[in-house]
Symmetry: C2
């Protein structure tokens, strides 16, 4: 079936604009920023075999492509406004496109944002989304504000944790195996992460620094520590995890939670524990205190007895592994 | 040489921010829009073998990747502000990156804009840029404003024209050959297009509709006609072309100018010829009147004697050829 670029855009991605002044179909989209707000912008590119597996359902991929971008807005404390999508596809596969658009636009609707423009081309599968949000001037959560004495926190689903996405990847890699229901749960964590937008908004004025967990806790925390010129001690056994991951051997559990990657939870620092718990409750998200920020540079891992551990997980580097 | 993602960003793409509140290195970049302005946004994705050839010098590719995006802002009449870059590379090739960054940032400097964020990943070569600009509310040039009676115009270098990029492509394809100096001129048109930002700004309040020529005049004009619900007659022999292209056989010249693609000139409509010439002079760019907008739908081609031609060039479709 022959489907040209313009038909393709029209069929799957064009909907009436709600908030944008001008949406898909002109040279540029036009947005009307709210006076006094800063515009928050982030771009993430997803490549097959690196950010998703060829086995992923198109609908889940559509969800994930937008979710990882919304997660950046969440980490900034920004309210999502709109996004653009640039898409390279080997061929205009309608089954893929219909599912992809469904997952993408369902998550967009959930966050009341719209697709305002983009590009489609033939080429090796590649998904590049740029999201726009807004945040009152001076209130954005940044990576450079952590202070000695702050608590260190991570978000997670109520009753869940971090590391499930990595555990699912290890199943796909054939390193471990899981029963069907357990596999489906961790696979869902990998393929359909939930961006913590509501929590990011609730943490404005509460968190001193924040980042979203995309490359693994150890690596992402390292960015915050370097930018904030501080250090931290983290209780490796306090890292929250799901029942499925809790049932795994200690070494695997620690690896998945501390350096797993693809979590898209918020890692943040705050001076006031009560305020953090109130924000989490307002957002309907779980949060766990996993350590503290210290003046001494570097990252120290301890176990539940407070003993220093010789544990140095490597943050996931897109060129290193 | 091992070069991780974060080193790579720091080495080639991080410079002190000038205008952005927060630039490369956090979850989001923060921009401060000017009150009363609309934000213009556009994304273009470039794929090897489709938007550029593997033979292109990295510096020229860096220029072109940003130029094609700036061209969308030009077609909208927007002042460029900033851009993000998402880059998939098979490996972190420092020679490529150094050249690419040089070409990219030189054009950015020329337009006083800065790289505020983005993403890098391993993967088949893919360049995705999103540009941001601003335009006073209600003054953006759009595709849907052409009116019967308007003149139809195309921009070009002084003494130049459109179609050179397509002619260069035909040399690369082995269909024709050109002497060295002539080839270098048309190759330069293909590899280093000049976005007509100054002209776009000068056409605010003058042009009734505008689009940038990326997929070929015939195809791009079709978008304007459909969106504006009008038709047009175009004088095929009035299409401006360089000396190199003028020396080619008539059929090839017509094909290159009328459906060439990759021109990144502005195609626009305007009621007032004098105002167009004044805008072009202010911008230091050539403009040629190539036809007129008519109430009758459809696109009619005539020769210099006004005779109707049976000429139906196809707009370039990223999935069709």
């Amino acid at each position: 079936m022959s489907l040209g670029e313009f038909d393709l855009i029209a069929r799957y991605f064009t909907r009436p604009t709600q908030r944008a002044v001008l949406g898909v179909g002109d040279d540029c989209a036009l947005l009307q920023p709210t006076p006094g707000m800063h515009l928050a912008v982030s771009s993430d590119m997803l490549v097959e075999g690196r950010h998703f597996l060829s086995t992923v359902a198109p609908q889940r991929l559509g969800h994930k492509a937008l979710a990882v971008n919304l997660s950046d807005l969440a980490a900034c404390g920004a309210t999502p406004l709109a996004f653009t999508l640039a898409l390279a596809l080997p061929r205009p596969d309608e089954t893929f496109l219909a599912g992809f658009a469904r997952g993408l636009l369902a998550l967009a609707d959930e966050h009341h944002i719209e697709l305002v423009g983009g590009d489609t081309t033939a080429g090796p599968l590649n998904l590049c989304i740029t999201v726009f949000g807004e945040v009152p001037a001076g209130q954005a959560l940044r990576r450079d504000g952590a202070c000695a004495g702050d608590g260190l926190w991570v978000s997670h689903a109520l009753g869940g944790g971090i590391g499930d996405a990595r555990l699912a990847l290890e199943v796909f890699r054939g390193r471990i195996s899981l029963p069907g229901a357990a596999f489906e749960r961790v696979r869902c964590a990998m393929e359909q992460p939930q961006p913590r937008v509501a929590l990011g908004l609730a943490l404005r004025g509460v968190a001193s620094a924040a980042i979203d967990l995309s490359d693994g806790l150890a690596g992402d925390l390292g960015h915050v520590l370097r930018r904030s010129k501080v250090g931290a001690t983290v209780d490796l056994d306090a890292l929250p995890c799901s029942d499925v991951l809790a049932a795994q051997p200690e070494a695997l559990r620690r690896e998945c939670t501390a350096s797993g990657g693809d979590d898209y939870e918020l890692l943040f620092c705050a001076a006031d524990d009560m305020a953090v718990r109130a924000a989490a409750q307002a957002a309907g998200v779980g949060v766990t205190r996993i350590g503290r920020i210290e003046a001494e540079p570097g990252l120290r891992w301890v176990d539940r007895q407070g003993r220093l551990l010789a544990f140095s997980p490597n943050g996931f580097d897109h060129f290193a592994d």
